[in-house]
Every structure is written in C-alpha cells, then in structure tokens.
Symmetry: C2
C-alpha cells in the first residue's frame, strides 16, 4: 500500500490522500456500523479524470478499491478494506447544470440528494427519489444502491430518474452511458450500472430527470385497531385505482416507540397507523383524498386526520420518519430488516412474522412501505444478554426466508453489500449467479472493484452451489504480496 | 449445417425444423426488406428448454444463430445468415397468466403485442407499449428491440413495462431476471437485456406490467399553416405541465401523402397537423383538453377538432397511422429514417432538414413523435433513376448526423440491427464500444448470438476506431469448416 501512496498523491494531490490512521478510522464503516474495517488509504478525487486514474492504477496493481459516497448505506456496501483504497466522492459536489427546458439536471456524484431539489425548486421542479437520509446521502451513493424512499410507490427508484451517466470503469476508462435524449441505442448499461453497488466502477457525473413540483399535496393519517383492517384499507385503495405518492404503515410497537421518542401524538389506542400521501393537480388530490377517507372508514378506521399545509404534513410524517431511531427508546439494540413481498402477500407475511415473534419470544416492530410491499421489520434484542444478538439475527433471517417463499426479494432498497451477499443463493440459482459474475468480470477483469460485495464468495459464505470457487487472481496476489 | 439438422430435429421435433429452401426463403428478411439472406436452417421451438438446447448446441458447434419474433423489425435485426440457424418463437404464443391483483401478466415470447391487451381487457387493464405493428409484432421482438410507439411519451418504452424475464443464454442456460416483486437485488440485467437485439440470448418468458384502462381518452387535431407554429404549440403544452399520452406531428408533404392514400380529410391548407391525445380521469382529461385547445389557438391553429368516441378518434389517427405506407403514393421509393433529438432542439433540426432537402433537391416528408423528439423523416427518391438511392441515403445519413450533433441519437425505436451498426462509432467513443463488446462477450463467449448486429465490425464497416479487430474465433472457424 505504501508504494501506492506517492502515485495516488500524484493523481489527487497531497491534500486528496489520507494516510493518517486516526483520520482513516473515521471511514471504517457506513450506516451499518457493525461491519467495520479501517481502509488502507483514503483518496478524495475532485475530477472524473482523477477517479479514472485512481481506478486504472488499482487495476494495474491488483489493489482492491471501495467506492464511498456519504457513507449512509445500510448494507455495508461501502465497508472499506485494510488491503485497499477507499475512493470517496465527497469533494465532487457541484450541480453542473439545471436544464428546465429538457426537464433534467447534470450533477457530480458527491452532490447531496436534497441539493438537486434545492437547485431545481426555483424552476418549479424537484428530484423525486427520496431516501430518508436525503439531507446528507449523495446521488452517487443513490446510484450505486438504486435508492428508493417513501415516494417510490408512485415515482419509482433511482433507476427511473437517471437519464445519463459518465462512469469511470475499474480499468480506468471514462465511458458515457445514455444522455438527455431518450432511449440510446446499444446496451442499456445505465440500468445495470444503477444498483451495482460499486462493483462496475464509479459514476463521475449523472444527468437526472426533474419532476414538476405538484400543485397540491395532501397527507392523510388513519388509525385502526389492528393491522388487518389497515391492510384491508390499502388493498381497497389500490383496487379503486388510486395511485398515492406514498402509503406507509406502522404497527402498535413502532407507534409506541415513536411516541416515546418524538411525542408524535398519533391517535390513542391505535393498533395500526396508515399514512397516505396524495399529490398532483388540486382537483385530483381532493377527489382522491375523499375516496381514501371513505375506504379507510369502510375498513374500520376510528380516526382520520388530513393535512394540506407543510407544517401539518410534517407533523404526520414526524412519527414515521423517526420510527427507526425511535426504536432505540424501547430496546437496547435492534436489527433493521429490509425485505420485499408482492403487495398481495403482505397480510399473510405479517401474520407469519407475528407468529415467528410469538414463538421465539423476540419482539418485532413493523414499519413499512405498504404500497409496494417493502417491509422494514425491526427485530429487537438486548445486546447485554449473551446470545440475544444471534437469536435476533435468526429471526431476522427467517423473515427474509418468508419474503423469498412468497415470491419476494431479500432487499427492497438497502442493497446487498457485504451484509446479504451470502443470502443471494437463497434467491438465485447457480446459473443466475454465474451470469451476474460473468457480467461483473466483463467490467472488472482484475477483480478489484469492491470485491466481496453483492455476490457471494466462498471466503465469505463457505461452499454454496453457484458461488465461484476462485478468488480473483490479482486480489489474491495483492493480498499475499503487498499487505 | 446438414450435420446439425438431425440434432436440431432431436430437440424441436421433425415439424420444428425447416430445411426446404422455398420455405426457408419466406424468412429471408424482416420489415427492412432491402437486407435479405436465406437462413441455413429454421427452427420453431415450443418450449423454453428447446430454445436453450438449440442455443447451447450453436455455442458448442460455433454456429451463429439469429433470433426472430414476428419479423416486423425495421433495422434488419432479424436478418438471417446462410451459415446459421434462425430461431423463431412463433409457436410460443401462450398467455400463461393474467394476474390483475399484482397488475401483471406472464406471456410466452411469441404472443402478439395486442393479444396481451386482449387478455387483460376483461379485468380493466391493458399493455401500454404500442408499436404501429402491434396487431402482429411479438412481445419477444419488442423486448429485443425495446419497442416504443406513439404513447411512449407518457408510458415509456418496453423496458418500463417488463418486470421479469426468463432467458435462454447463448451458452444454453435458462436464467431468471427480475420477477413480480419490484427491484430485485443484484445487477438489473433486465434493462440491459431489453433492447439487446438478440445478442445476449432469447427471452423465453416475460412478466409484463399491466396498466389500468383510462377512464377517458380525448384526441385533438390542430391544423397550422406551418411547422413553426405547430412546434410552438408543442413547447407551450409541455411548458404548462400537461403530459399527453401522445403528441404527433405531420408536415405538408406527409399530409398530402396521407390524403392521397386514405382520404383522411385533414383540414385543407394545413402546413402542419398536430395530434394530441389525452387520457386519464375524465375531469383531468377535460381540463387538459381545454388547455391544449387554448394553447393551440394562441400558437395560431386555424382549425381544431376534438374526438372522444372510439370511431371519431380512429378517424383522426387514420392519416397518421397510414403515413409511412401512404408516402408510396407520392414517391416510387423512400427511406424511413429514425433519429432522436432533445425535444428543445426539434425546431432547429427541422429547419436544418428543410435546408438539406432544398440544397439537395431531394424531398423529405416529416412524421414524428413531437413529444419526445423522435423524428421519422421519409427521404423520397425514384429507384428507377440511377444513383438516386445513393443520394437519398446520403441525405438520410446527413439527417442522422444532425441528430447526433444536437445531442440526440441514431435510433429512437427501430433499433440498430445491421442497418445502423456502422453508425455506432458516430455516437460512441472507442471506450464506450469496447465496454459494450466486453458485456456482449460475457454473455456470448462463443460469439454466436446474432453476430454483426448492433455493434460494428471491420468486415461490415471497415477500419473504424473502437471497432473490434478480431472476428469471434468460433464463428470464423464455423464459416471456414462447415459452410
């Protein structure tokens, strides 16, 4: 590694390379803090060319690199390597262009998600994908993880909002994918790059779609005595053809946690709270809001609140948005799971989760994107109690099994990273995984781009059918000789 | 080839293999008939497993294969090879499942585009992508070409409507990509597969998204004296935030052709006709229709017609839908070009096309998807006149150059195929093309999947920077030894 430092400084400048151990330690994990490793060296490039040169150097020398945006990821996708280079885009934060005529913006990868909206707002536009971390998370990280958010139900994920990319490939080339004109010929590698978790290179510039600021936004909160009634309301809203911007649900335990943490003042005695947000032309929003009200009442809602002003809406969202952190008030520790089921299987899966919880004696709080079947069960445990973490992890794993069994997926929006790489064979056949690995190697023949993330390896997961047997030769060599 | 026939019959049955020359000749081209070549052998598999076995055999033997759906493509993407196997999916025409609860359908690749809508209509749903050939074109072909249609402005292309695929890879494996649950982890290879023009394998089953049948559809026709005024109307519609289902424009020459062919009875003296279709909730459609009317009037429309009933709407669409064929009435021959420009560059590019036409003395009729900047200039010529075809091709090529220079693309919806493979280096850098070729080879190491389509080769295009130097070794060998 030390041999590499002068060359990295030659590319990024002295102030663009961090070697001091204390400073490197601040990068040891992303948002999933129980995976941590101090990076061998950290670089902070300021241009696309610098990024490409750094990656090309890593490929030539067989040194692994790990890309990092703002470090808010929840699957340890940006977990550094002591034998590798951490490439962070935090100094590439320029909004290059806002182009309202073509309804798009061009941004550098380190730009914070919400800063795109801030730049577009004066023109009556915003950037739709809205992960909860949108104040700080970077658009480059969003691209790597194909990030979603509460409003993805109506607006789709990051992949639906990126028109063009400039990427630095692991071999150090700068390549353009897509652009302002729709549907470029050739392979649609934008879609494959988005969500590739840093294994195909680093996005150095993105052209993103801007969406019109809606004329009106109305948020409804409906309280039910139990989850079944809430689920019934969701089903009937979908059956009536209403497409809300967001449909979120919380169960009794997560409501209690939110009350304890932020005093969100949700209706007393609620066994389930449903939040439905509608946006669009005022006439539609009003008609849809009336319809959603009726359907919630018919499903047994005992209280319904409606908010149109920004402050009132924020009050409704307060409990939901604080739910994850709030669970810390009622449990010393917890695991946030992230699974998906087809929406129609939601009721059954929630029933199964309740049974799992009752049988194991481990509490599970449910907060989820009900509209698109993306569950976030919070599995609570006491980390002071020996073996409790393992038992919680077992329940959390069993919930994933449930999702897979119902035709769903092991992650909705948090990604695979290191955390779920070994779960991939539960969802994909050996042929599926081999095809993905062939694709990965086409971009990264040296095997240096975020190794051991996304796809399972024997070192990480043991012998699993479909898991490639060999470690990338350059990485193996790099490990043996250099570190 | 003859050595392969018994083995192909072993896979597809005697009636699933066509060797008779006269019958093979019926497959000699797709919709772009000036490229033609009789296939070495034609196979008609009935199951996914048969498709996979055929492709695996081709890979093992180094024999090229060409996939074919209904043969309506316009870029010679299904041009057969005398030294290869033509794999047609025409006997795989079963709608496997309509699942209105999860708003999707599962279909075999040979199902006609419109048959999905026919199967979904009883549930109040339809399949949105609508190429003009939708009565006959197959969903497998739509997937290979990422087909669009007049309504892609609002609803997107095929890639926006496919949730899951089963594919047979060139090496003969059956692999699943995506599924009913949104956003599967791993690489989004669905997006890259869609539009890959048969170079990555053959889709053997597709799970497609169904869209609610709109409550109301209104079609407006506005007549202007010239194209500038029509273009101004389009710009102001977009600026007002109206999102029509379709925005189509025709110039004087294409209107004249349509009149001559189908007597569509468009307003007399029109230098430009604009068709705007609106769909959605009745209240929205009525409000938007009133707005579009006002904006057209303000831009100088001298006549506006409005149709809500199906028969009236069909009358408005009649001229537009017949436009390509109708041009045959006013010219012995023509080339249909398919280019894209950012919408804001439309006016300038149309002006440049008019200048090109005037300078060269070659007539160009313009019919286009104005809403998304997808131009279809028809370059007219007399094929009896020596050199006229070449001169028309020059003008047609110059129009593509214009599109590229304005940040657009060489194809909007017809694909690259053989026809535009040599134009790819005009749009992509050598690094871009190399990246695509690496990707292709990851799926198709034997180089047998629809060779010489999509990406340029020296044999096809001569020496061009970024064009790979070597022919795939197995293909070269196959050519030398077997044929």
């Amino acid at each position: 590694m030390s041999a590499l430092v002068p060359r990295l400084k030659g590319i990024c400048g002295d102030d663009g390379v961090i070697t001091d151990r204390a400073r490197r330690r601040t990068y040891e994990s992303d948002g999933l803090t129980y995976h941590a490793e101090v990076p061998g060296v950290v670089v902070l490039p300021t241009t696309a060319e610098q990024v490409a040169e750094v990656l090309g150097l890593c490929s030539a020398e067989g040194v692994p690199f790990v890309p990092r945006g703002a470090g808010t990821g929840l699957s340890a996708g940006a977990l550094p390597r002591t034998d590798g280079v951490l490439v962070t885009t935090s100094r590439m934060r320029r909004v290059v262009e806002v182009d309202p005529d073509n309804e798009c913006a061009v941004v550098q990868p380190g730009v914070a998600n919400l800063d795109i909206t801030r730049a577009a707002a004066p023109y009556g536009y915003y950037y739709a994908p809205d992960p909860s971390s949108q104040q700080v998370c970077s658009v480059g990280g969003n691209i790597a993880e194909n990030s979603g958010g509460a409003h993805c139900l109506k607006y789709g994920f990051t992949v639906n909002h990126v028109l063009g990319l400039q990427i630095a490939t692991p071999q150090g080339e700068l390549v353009r994918l897509g652009g302002k004109a729709p549907e470029a010929p050739g392979y649609d590698l934008i879609g494959a790059f988005i969500g590739s978790e840093g294994t195909l290179g680093i996005a150095t510039e993105a052209t993103v779609r801007l969406v019109r600021t809606p004329q009106k936004v109305t948020t409804l909160l409906a309280a039910f005595t139990g989850m079944d009634a809430g689920g019934e309301a969701v089903s009937s809203v979908v059956a009536e053809g209403v497409l809300p911007a967001a449909v979120e649900m919380m169960d009794a335990l997560s409501i209690a946690a939110a009350e304890a943490a932020v005093a969100c003042d949700y209706p007393e005695g609620a066994g389930a709270v449903l939040i439905v947000e509608l946006d669009g032309p005022a006439a539609d929003v009003d008609a849809d809001a009336a319809m959603v009200r009726r359907l919630c009442e018919r499903a047994g809602a005992f209280e319904i609140r409606e908010a149109s002003g920004a402050a009132e809406r924020a009050r409704i969202w307060k409990g939901r948005k604080s739910a994850f952190a709030a669970v810390g008030r009622i449990s010393p520790a917890y695991i946030v799971q992230d699974g998906v089921v087809p929406r129609t299987a939601l009721g059954e899966v929630l029933g199964d989760i309740a049974r799992l919880s009752a049988e194991s004696g481990i509490r599970v709080a449910n907060v989820f994107h009900a509209g698109d079947g993306n569950l976030h069960p919070l599995v609570l445990f006491d980390d002071a109690e020996p073996g409790a973490g393992e038992r919680a992890a077992e329940v959390s794993g069993a919930i994933l099994d449930l999702c897979i069994r119902h035709g769903g997926s092991i992650t909705g929006e948090h990604g695979v990273g290191v955390d779920k790489a070994c779960s991939m064979p539960r969802m994909f056949t050996p042929e599926d995984l081999e095809t993905m690995d062939l694709f990965r190697r086409a971009f990264d023949p040296a095997g240096v781009a975020n190794p051991e993330k996304l796809l399972p390896t024997p070192r990480l997961c043991g012998e699993v059918p479909g898991v490639r047997k060999d470690v990338h030769p350059l990485v193996a060599q790099g490990r043996a000789e250099q570190f």
